[in-house]
């Protein structure tokens, strides 16, 4: 007699099938929950670590009049409501206004904790505050999605969390790892653009053309160069869009060259350099929009040079491979100027990125 006719064996085969038919989703939910719980625990540790680092930094370096813990905790829960986009006309202006209002508020908030604070410390604390606030938000959202799925016992609801979690973890880990570099004022991978342009303008006269943005005017092989970068060595990206608008208002510009760090694709080498067209600038998109708008209105071609890197490399201490590319990128900028412009023309060169630890 074969096993397939044995009633006991049939039961052993059929029971799991019945179990999976009726309770499959719950079993999958249990297995997936374990992985997500681990991720949430890690996110919670990042959140607590960033908050503790921030509070310690403020206490040890800013000499606040009173204990800043409560104020910082209050600020971490601040939210930003993005403008309605049902009618997209004028949305960029609205987003820019909202984001800048938040930045101004953050700066004033920090100044109220320590009225005598200098600009470099202010930018540093502002960045640490943004990191802590972002980590808190990521933790809160992932935890909410997980608990909702569990409460509803709804397996499909947990799938988006499971899919997006590895990407969120990569960003959160990068943000958590960036804290020491910001605290000590070390250059970041994203600072390669400002590093290249900063050295180009090192021995020349500089002026502040727009908020936290430095400009130097130099001559190169009978061409006029307008060198732009965020004002270092504080942690800021400046406002290159406003600066470009001011330059274009007063001068006829023939080309714009942007140097920035860009996210590499999987399989690409870190610190590899590539050239292309179009505005190389990240962020929420308002600056990119403005730069493209100015270029289109004035028929100015935009060339770009990017240095590829991972998310973690971009916001943590600059790696040796990226730092070693600075001279190469600088020579490519000069090469690009000679290839695309003629004598007597004017070019704007923008070093895009966070200028933490990179002066000019």
């Amino acid at each position: 007699m074969g096993d397939d006719t044995n009633p006991l064996m049939m039961l052993i085969w059929i029971l799991p099938i019945i179990l999976f038919v009726f309770y499959g989703q719950q079993i999958q939910l249990l297995v997936t929950s374990g992985e997500i719980k681990k991720g949430i625990k890690k996110l919670n540790n990042f959140r607590l670590n960033s908050k503790t680092e921030l509070i310690d930094y403020v206490k040890n370096n800013l000499n606040p009049a009173s204990d800043p813990t409560k104020k910082i905790e209050q600020f971490l829960d601040y939210f930003t409501i993005m403008p309605v986009d049902m009618d997209p006309s004028g949305i960029v202006e609205k987003v820019r206004h909202t984001v800048r209002s938040r930045e101004d508020y953050t700066r004033n908030h920090i100044k109220s904790m320590s009225p005598g604070i200098n600009d470099i410390e202010l930018n540093r604390v502002q960045t640490l505050l943004e990191i802590a606030s972002s980590l808190q938000m990521i933790h809160k959202i992932v935890n909410h999605m997980f608990l909702t799925a569990k409460k509803q016992k709804n397996y499909p609801l947990i799938l988006p969390v499971q899919m997006i979690l590895p990407f969120l973890m990569e960003h959160a880990t990068a943000m958590n790892s960036s804290i020491p570099a910001f605290k000590t004022g070390q250059p970041l991978g994203d600072g390669i653009g400002p590093m290249v342009v900063g050295k180009m303008m090192l021995n020349d006269e500089k002026e502040i053309i727009s908020f936290q943005t430095a400009l130097a005017k130099i001559e190169y092989k009978k061409r006029k160069l307008f060198l732009l970068k965020a004002e270092g060595p504080g942690s800021t990206v400046g406002r290159p869009d406003d600066a470009l608008q001011k330059i274009v208002n007063d001068n006829k510009i023939d080309a714009v060259i942007m140097i920035d760090a860009a996210l590499k694709m999987e399989g690409e080498d870190s610190a590899s350099v590539a050239r292309g067209f179009g505005a190389a600038i990240g962020g929420i998109g308002t600056e990119k929009f403005q730069i493209e708008h100015i270029a289109t209105q004035n028929k100015i071609p935009i060339f770009s040079i990017i240095v590829k890197q991972s998310v973690k490399e971009a916001i943590t201490l600059m790696s040796k491979e990226i730092a070693d590319q600075a001279d190469n990128v600088r020579s490519q900028v000069y090469e690009m100027i000679l290839e695309n412009t003629t004598e007597g023309q004017s070019i704007v060169v923008i070093g895009v990125g966070n200028t933490a630890g990179v002066p000019q």
């Binding site: 000590t184 070390q186 201490l317 600059m318 040796k320 990226i322 600075a326 630890g357 002066p359």
Partner: protein, 59 residues
């Protein structure tokens, strides 16, 4: 934590002599800022400029 995947990254500063252009790599010290004057060159005694600050994974 012998099984930890976390890598230790050490920060270094590279100084470049403004006269003989010799490079000198040393550990990063708090307060080091790119393109600022640093110690004197060990070869010619001229002042050096901080050329690079970067991190390397401890092997």
């Amino acid at each position: 934590m012998i099984f930890s995947k976390e890598k230790t990254i050490l920060a270094y500063t590279v100084e470049k002599c403004t006269k003989c252009e010799k490079l000198h790599k040393r550990d990063f010290i708090a307060g080091d800022v790119l393109f600022t004057n640093s110690s004197n060159c060990s070869f010619c005694g001229e002042v050096t400029l901080i050329e690079k600050i970067f991190g390397e994974v401890l092997e």
